[in-house]
Amino acid sequence: MLSVQSLSKAFGSKTAVDSVSFDISEARMVGIIGRSGAGKSTLLRMMNRMTDATSGAAIFEGENVTALKGAKKRAWQARCAMIFQQFNLVPRLDVVSNVLHGTLNRQPVLRTMFNLYPKADILRAIEILDRLGIAEHAAKRAEALSGGQQQRVAIARAVMQDPSIILADEPIASLDPMNAQLVMRDLRRIHEEDGRMVIANLHTLDTARRYCDRIIGMRDGRVVFDGAPDELTTRAAREIYGADESFSESATSTEIEALVEREIPERPTQAVSA
């Protein structure tokens, strides 16, 4: 389905992403972990084509998406939704308009300039908002919503695109633990119910363990781990984060349970704390 083949990106003399390769053969939920500066964001931005790759390719269903140009590139971006850390909504427009932006690639320019979206699209936007539990905010300006609500509007915009892949770049890094949990659950639900591939950059190990089917660990632009969550040992985690013996998973946790009780029975692996 998606095959990334020695994808690289250099900014001047600095290599941000260094020959990354992996295959995702079916619509899975994949977490990419690593400390900041590991090249996770650049990798996602290259897949969405907001950043051009220096070398290598990303092949989706037989098509090299890193080589697309012009209208074809924009059509790919419509199929490959992106969710950002800072939500990247238009703050002064209402929530439904922001969700309707998900259809921009297939609307005539004049129609979008005067906010004349088809009724069917408006109804679908509200339906998606309702599915995410924020339909009552439909007519409010996006800036009037809390961070967690804004991120769910961003997810609604992504779903509105009806994408094949949803890329999420640190979707919960600016949210409190409660909202972080809601947003991750929504992403998981969209993956399970709609069968869409989700690739999420995540700061913390436990979030990746809890919600993802597969984890890719990056360090200094390279893939240093690729496997199922229960294959990720303490040793592998230390390798990813470049940490020493004092590193423990619960110390980096943002989960509410991890703070209240340091023992979580359904965790696949608990041998992480040192």
Binding site: F114, E127, E193
Partner: protein
């Protein structure tokens, strides 16, 4: 996609669609009123026009084309004329530069005195605002004519006239920029016991400087043009030469074109230098 529309969503849908219909109706009406006003205004203006808009339209390009055709005949003379008017151009530039500097400094003071949240005497804000309104209300040319009458012709009346207008115009823009400045650094400075001057100089200026600079440089461009125009009423510079050339009419059009070319090149140069300066200010050298 799975269908999740709950009955609760129906009222929300209705509400939003209603809102949408209203917005579109108002938008359409506004557009209609705008078009009607434009058309009726044009018809009125046209009926009061002495010559008639449509008859004159075909002659619109007559003057520029006669100027250009004469200039192209004497194109070899242009560089010589441009060299000859260079000292006058420098005088015009000097008037513009001094008046921008003096007016800009006055604008800084006026702006800080009339910005909510920064002004040392908040009750005096309306007073300083009205002062700036007054300074903007008088056209430069009126002030210059009065000053020439009192002080006699020359670059000084032009400089004062332009500086007066500049401080009013820039003061308003500076104050609007300063209004959006982050007050947290200012609060930080007042927590260490800084005076008003210190808070403004060290807390506000670093934030607003890039925007102030670009407004001031834009004003400098406008002032070059203004000081050229003031030459028409006898305050020296390149404007006086332009006026004489235009009044002579046929036979001196090569001079008109030469003066316009040097003015255009000057504006281009100022624009290049100002964008370079601004880059350095925003990004650090």
């Amino acid at each position: 996609m799975s269908d999740f529309a709950a009955p609760r969503a129906n009222s929300i849908e209705e509400g939003y669609l209603e809102l949408m219909r209203k917005k579109r109706l108002y938008g359409g009406l506004t557009l209609l009123i705008f078009v009607l006003l434009m058309v009726s205004g044009f018809l009125l203006a046209d009926s009061r026009n002495a010559g008639g808009f449509w008859d004159g339209l075909s002659h619109l390009l007559d003057f520029p084309s006669s100027v250009l055709s004469e200039a192209s005949e004497k194109i070899s003379l242009l560089p010589g004329i441009m060299w000859k008017v260079l000292p006058l151009l420098i005088e015009t530039l000097n008037i513009a530069a001094v008046s921008t500097l003096v007016g800009g400094l006055a604008a800084v003071v006026l702006a800080l005195l009339s910005t909510r949240g920064l002004a040392p005497w908040p009750w005096a804000i309306p007073f300083f605002r009205r002062c700036m309104d007054l300074m903007r209300a008088f056209p430069e040319i009126v002030i210059a004519l009065v000053l020439i009458f009192i002080l006699g012709g020359g670059p000084v009346p032009a400089m004062i006239a332009i500086a007066f207008h500049t401080s009013g115009a820039l003061g308003k823009l500076f104050s609007e920029v300063a209004e959006n400045a982050d007050l947290k650094p200012v609060e930080g400075l007042s927590s260490v016991g800084a005076s008003w001057m210190q808070r403004m100089w060290l807390g506000v200026l670093p934030q607003v400087m890039p925007n102030w600079m670009s407004y001031a440089l834009l004003r400098f461009e406008i002032n070059i043009r203004a000081s050229a125009i003031l030459g028409f009423v006898g305050s020296g510079g390149i404007g006086y030469e332009l006026k004489i050339a235009m009044q002579w009419g046929q036979g001196r059009y090569d001079e008109v074109v030469a003066i316009f070319i040097v003015l255009f090149l000057t504006i281009v140069l100022v624009d290049q230098i100002s964008s370079h300066l601004r880059q350095r200010l925003v990004k650090g050298s």
